[in-house]
Symmetry: C2
Subunit: 334 residues, 2 copies
DNA sequence: TTGAAAGCGTTACCAT
DNA sequence: ATGGTAACGCTTTCAA
């Protein structure tokens, strides 16, 4: 592999000049620039990005930590991010945190040890304090789907209260009055917010919130399954169940069928996230759109702007959810 | 950030010695090793991986090119890969090729320009020749889901003929005799193989293969939709349709419902890949398992073994598909 | 077992 | 506009 040194020799110029044309920087005369590029072509020269990184103290790499690489949620997010970075010649180093505190910390450590210039973090288990402390350190980072007031300018989030509100309002508008709710784990802010939105909509319709109609799940499919089952067996009757995410809604669907209910006639089900497979379940699931792809892009823009001082479209920090009506909610029940 | 130099000064040893204990290499006396680690702790020393890479000519990074970062197929593959690499302190640089020749080439170029020590490629659009040429160059790479005989030792593939055979055999065993087939794009080897397996099973049951019952799709959902529709409207009757992947099967399901068919009674549908959402469609889709997660891990092991000379479990190059029976195939039709 | 010193391939500052 | 040269932080001979 040819080095900058050989290029400089062949072109009859100094190292510095070659470097200048590489970074098509500074003032280089057209004549020498041509000489140099010709030499590069002749030698098939490729800059060594590692040497560049060392000398410039900039690795051009940004770390991305997600909970899982699989699953319907992270794919679109990573897509958006990868795309905007590649156009900018930055590269993505990806690690998984598995929603587990130790592994999230390890992942962050790992990314930092890889000399990432910046980090995009989708973390769930690590504490606010940890992140606040981290923010005092070297590496700049932006958070997706997490709000910490001390770090509010670097939190890219969805308005979950509104999303929760929209979901329940839609169900109410279809005439449902007895509505069960399967929440996420309530120590998570997004789970709280979605529930809060639910209550808000209920209140707006003059309906009391009934603890008996609430089941606390964990955002995973299985908890939707058992959630619906326990609600159905132990609670008062309800004609609709709202799930705090699509995975649980899917679990609830399976559960409903096992209970012998025909969907959506005997039970309406509402999801949240608009994960891609919700179109494919049967009946197609009504849900709340979570523009995770756009939010990923925004996180990438944040990094571009804050870490690399690039011009980007104006940064936006909170995104708005939208109702997606499909066929899992029945009208005028009973 | 402390450097190796400061550590050496504090510990009262040379640079070389510090380097030795970092790579807990060579023979270093316990005494000095202790001194050095103590100094490191005191300074909070973290090795600079970029400097290490430059000096050692090893970036400890491996490039992964997939078609898409989202979608049900690549997630599990990336998961398997990330996991085995992180344990080995290697990191993954991910790029997307979008099943497009130019972008795949760009992606590979990009990864190479990032000084990856090795590459894992899931490419579809790039030619065999290109890859053969690439194999003569510096970077070692392994291919997933692609077979090139000249490169057979670095092709990690599924036995698709067998998979296609298994799928059709299962349908035949349930008593179906008129079976339609929606294939992938037939210029792709895997699509060909799956179809070949289909024909083989048919032949085994003494049934002729009927071109009229074949629709060539493109592995995307929409083609399953239109595929079923055109088959249904123009072809002779059939009681089952076998799709060359789950996405198309999902499209076919939607199509069937639009045609007013009740599933699975009036039409049995078979998928391929066992992508995770197949459990959630209704009726749950019978399909062929594609152990993509394991294959990803194997690719990672290949790299570990061939690039980093690490000991790994024995390498396996072709994987076997398995039948997954759910509820989308009806028994004894008509 | 340890140390000295020459790289690794760039960038960036200071001259000219 | 161009060149000289010291970093960048580590690894890796080669000697001792």
């Amino acid at each position: 592999m040819a080095t900058i040194y050989e290029v400089s020799k062949l072109a009859g110029v100094s190292l510095a000049t070659v470097s200048r044309v590489m970074n098509n920087n500074a003032n280089v005369s057209d004549a020498t620039r041509k000489k140099v590029t010709a030499a590069m072509d002749e030698l098939g020269y490729r800059p060594n990005s590692i040497a560049q990184s060392l000398a410039s103290n900039c690795s051009n790499s940004v770390g991305l930590l997600v909970s899982e690489l699989h699953g319907p949620f992270y794919g679109p997010m990573m897509s958006g991010i990868e795309n905007t970075f590649r156009n900018q010649k930055k590269h993505l180093i990806i690690a998984a945190g598995h929603s587990n505190e130790e592994r999230e910390k390890q992942g962050i450590e790992f990314l930092i040890s890889r000399n990432c210039d910046g980090l995009i973090l989708h973390v769930e288990a690590v504490s606010d304090d940890y992140l606040i402390k981290l923010s005092k350190s070297q590496v700049p980072f932006v958070l997706i789907n997490r709000f910490i007031s001390e770090l509010s300018d670097r939190c890219i989030i969805l308005n979950n209260i509104k999303g929760g509100y929209l979901a329940t309002k839609h169900v109410l508008e279809q005439g449902h009055k007895q509505i069960a709710y399967i929440s996420g784990p309530l120590w998570k802010k997004d789970a709280q917010d979605r529930l809060e939105g639910h209550k808000k909509a209920l209140a707006e319709y003059g309906l009391p919130f009934d603890e008996q109609l609430l089941y606390q799940g964990d955002f995973m499919e299985a908890s939707g399954f058992t959630g619906l089952k326990t609600l159905y067996q132990h609670a008062k009757p309800f004609s609709a169940v709202i799930c705090a995410n699509d995975e649980m809604a899917t679990g609830a669907m399976a559960s409903a069928r096992e209970l012998g209910l025909t969907l959506p006639d005997q039970l309406s089900i509402m999801g949240y996230d608009n994960v891609f497979f919700t179109r494919h379940v049967y009946p197609p699931l009504s849900t709340i759109n979570y523009p995770i792809n756009e939010m990923g892009k925004m996180a990438a823009d944040w990094v571009l702007s804050h870490v690399y001082q690039k011009q980007t479209a104006p940064l936006q920090t909170v995104f708005e959810p939208e109702l997606v009506v499909r066929q899992s909610i029945t009208t005028n029940p009973q």
